[in-house]
């Protein structure tokens, strides 16, 4: 499932963009060194293939509903992690631009959720050790199903985490996870089945194709566990830094999650520098300054979740402010429409 811009906070969006760009840079650097030129058009056309394949629907047995292919695992198995990651990233980019699936800020999240997990975690650490050089269709089927399920579970769980960290949705963690994980378990099983079907079919119909692709892809396509761990650690530190900077600027969502995780309220906050300046600016200008976190931050005590909910949540809201907001919005939107109609009218006149 695609993450959407409207549910994201800038902190989460930019952090995952940074992560995805870093992985993408690493992938293209590795490929550039070791790639065979013929793989470049193949990768691009396989991206279009994934796109086209996603448009064929099939009936999921026993349910009557229909599903389509995700494609990350097929690509990882055939192209190896680096090339597969780049193809997946370009598929998601085109989807974001043309079908507005998710959006451009959420693109970082989507590349992470649907690209990094299948290509850099599941394929090297689950599929590859399991299948190895084996050609047994049953083994490929089992490994594909487990891999697809694992990749989709990780992806779905990340959607839940990203949504909660952004704090735009009221969905509690447990309920959201309980909704997302089982749905994606079912999707993962079907995806794994289809993946194995395609791999086995191609292997039996034209075995030389898979071998020739394997021969032209970089030899160092194996991902070492150590490298992955180091990358994840570095990304975690960067993410922590970025998130905590934003946390002091935009107090929505993060406090909530920190409270949940540590059982305490916000971490002691130092009020100076750019964060404090921005915060001051925001407090001056925001429609609902700091909404319900204001009292907690001012008092400086560590309130538990239940206390926070019991406390009066909406300080300083009076009917006057909201009426002004509504009238203002109506006027602004009316003006926008009028400007639009005006430009249209002028254009028509010019043409005729």
């Amino acid at each position: 499932m695609h993450m959407a811009d409207a549910l994201l906070s800038p902190a989460v969006g930019t952090t995952l963009w940074a992560g995805s760009v870093a992985v993408g840079g690493y992938a293209s650097k590795t490929l550039k060194r070791e790639i065979d030129d013929r793989l470049i058009p193949l990768m691009g056309v396989l991206g279009a293939f994934i796109f086209a394949a996603q448009m064929i629907n099939f009936t999921i047995p026993g349910t009557g509903s229909s599903g389509h292919l995700g494609g990350g695992m097929i690509l990882a198995i055939i192209l190896g992690p680096h090339a597969a990651f780049l193809v997946m990233a370009s598929v998601l980019t085109v989807q974001a631009l043309f079908f507005a699936d998710g959006g451009l800020l959420a693109l970082g999240c989507n590349i992470w959720n649907l690209g990094v997990y299948p290509c850099y975690l599941v394929h090297p650490f689950i599929y590859k050790p399991w299948v190895g050089g084996s050609k047994s269709p049953k083994r490929i089927l089992a490994a594909s199903i487990i891999s697809a399920v694992a990749a989709l579970q990780l992806g779905a769980f990340s959607v839940v985490l990203e949504t909660l960290l952004s704090g735009k949705s009221e969905l509690p963690f447990g309920a959201f996870a309980l909704m997302m994980q089982p749905i994606h378990l079912a999707i993962g099983i079907v995806e794994g089945f289809v993946t194995a079907g395609v791999i086995n079919y191609v292997r039996s119909a034209r075995p030389e194709i898979i071998e020739s692709i394997a021969a032209s892809r970089p030899l160092g396509a194996e991902v070492s566990l150590k490298k992955v761990m180091v990358t994840f650690a570095v990304l975690a530190v960067i993410a922590g830094g970025v998130l905590s900077w934003f946390a002091s600027t935009y107090p929505d969502g993060l406090e909530w999650s920190i409270e949940k995780v540590t059982g305490k309220g916000e971490l002691p906050e130092r009020e100076h520098g750019i964060a404090a300046a921005l915060k001051g600016l925001q407090e001056m200008t925001a429609f609902l300054p700091d909404y319900n976190f204001k009292s907690a931050a001012k008092a400086g005590d560590l309130k538990s979740v239940s206390q926070k909910e019991a406390a009066p949540a909406w300080p300083g809201i009076d009917a006057g402010t909201s009426t002004a907001g509504i009238i203002g919005a109506a006027i602004v939107l009316g003006t926008v429409v009028l400007i639009g109609m005006g430009i249209r009218a002028v254009r028509r006149k010019k043409i005729s």
């Binding site: 991206g47 279009a48 629907n57 009936t59 451009l104 907001g325 919005a329 006027i331």
Partner: protein, 269 residues
Amino acid sequence: MTFDDKFFDIGRLDRLSFRETFVHRLDPRVKVIATMLFLLTVISFPKYEIAALAPFFLYPMLLVTVGEIPLRFIIKKIIVVSPFVIFVGIFNPILDTRIAAVIFGVSVSAGWISFLSILLKFALTISAALLLIATTSFSGVCHALRRIGFPALFVSQLHFLYRYLFVLMEETMRIIRARDMRSFGKRGTGPRVFARLIGILFLRTVDRAERIYYAMLSRGFAGDMPALKRSRIVWPDLAFLSVMMAGLWVFRFFPVTENIGRIAEGLLR
């Protein structure tokens, strides 16, 4: 969405991007940067913000009118992709029932406000992304990304993907039609047949990639795709970007909508 619709849509966006208007003539790099800034600004508003989002509709409206993009087409595309956001957002009014405001005698819960805020942000971000592609051709965006500093390999992926998307879609359309003609009701539409179909499509794709590669080799392909048309950033581009940044800054940090509302209220009294 049926297959033909999706196919038609992508072709239509592509055709729109070849118009000749002020927005279309702007440098792709400037438009990509402006769009990203716009998205970040819109997303940075807190959860319960509604009124301050209103002025931001000016940007898509200007692009639609100056760029001569059909408004109904964009709205239709926004509605098509809305289910996930609505699915996640609809829980806000259910779970967050604190009364936040009383408007003309009707009490509104905080959940409805945050839900409406999500919907507004959704409309703004999606329309900005769609309008970027409708006013800048896809290859324009690709070259912009290349010159901003994205890796050549990734950008050439995007080029290939886009170029062969239409070819493979037509191929797929033929496959789907063939399957539909041979399957009665739900028979023959299960995952087993599906895996075979995908397998065949894959084999054809690989063969096609091979032909493409030889064709490209004979035309001197060496790993990158240079653009013949070099766009240069000229003063209208800089003017556009600075107006954009100033506008975003003002609308982000000053309660424009609220002040207009107050003034209007004062006049009414």
